[in-house]
Symmetry: C2
Amino acid sequence: MCIVTFMSVGHALLGILARGPAHGYDLKREHDARFPGAKPLAYGQVYATLARLERDGHAEIAETAQGGGPERTVYALTPEGRRTLDDWLEQVEPAGPYPADELVRKTITALHLGTDAVGFLARQRAQHMARMRELVQAQSVVLELGAQIALDHTIAHLDADLRWLETAASRVAPNGKVHT
Amino acid sequence: MCIVTFMSVGHALLGILARGPAHGYDLKREHDARFPGAKPLAYGQVYATLARLERDGHAEIAETAQGGGPERTVYALTPEGRRTLDDWLEQVEPAGPYPADELVRKTITALHLGTDAVGFLARQRAQHMARMRELVQAQSVVLELGAQIALDHTIAHLDADLRWLETAASRVAPNGKVHT
DNA sequence: AGGTCACTATACACACACTGAATACACTCA
DNA sequence: TGAGTGTATTCAGTGTGTGTATAGTGACCT
């Protein structure tokens, strides 16, 4: 049971269901509220994930309510789902290796190809600075503790990218091309 | 044409093929060499991606060599593939929003559930510190410029996680639970 | 009344991302 | 000869993620 190859979204939904039964639409909104700054969850994914959770016995349909609006399918956490959630929370995260991200893939590829990596890095830096300004703005409004912390994370990584763009540029500057 | 929903791995492979024809096995190894510190690419993914590249006309089978070992299918970049690659390199990356990562999902979920978030953060911090020591070690050996830069990126983000774990812990400390 | 606009809520189809296991050939060493 | 190692590919299965279609409700406007 519970071989769970990898299912971060599923676990997050279980975490929300632990607060009480809910339907897909609510889950999506609550999820996005919990993780501001992160990419919003698509509806399609919510329902697909819910279906998997139900299939695996982690959640069950509590009721299908009717009143005021379209039909809503309300899901509830099962005892097994609760156990899975607790197990997940107890596990320590591996601390990488992270999958190589798009920005690095592109930079390194440009470098190997001998195209204008320095220019690319500069353009990229401008883009990241703009985004940073937006986020710092967002951070200044008062948020719930959890949302604040989630936002901190996004900003911390954006900052890391920004610093990285600068060191990368300075490393490249001397010759501008990686020796193959 | 070339609607390319999202295909970072594919683009990276095109980048390697730009150096000259190669087969799947080689591509995997070259990819991993270019991105040390990142999660190695699985063979399954390489071949799946190659098949897609061929289907879409970005790459084509150059030959199926025989000598010394099992049969190898050598792929070569097509002119269209080259164009796609150049287009990709020219585009600026969006700078987020990043998908919410596992570490944050877990921390925030723990917080909302009222479980021991502080303990979790501490355990996580120890894990990250250990990993950091490994990477700094890896960084000290002399690497090719590109590999150096790729490794910088991993370290920068690990550092960001580490700092974040500390700020998160200090934010949580006062009360230890998010108000729902 | 009729129209359309926004919001709530779900479902379906499709493609990519990623893993793990299985297969198969060739070379080496005991 | 037979086990082991390295090369090279394939496949089944699942999770991730997007885009689109559908459909009811309420509100606003003319």
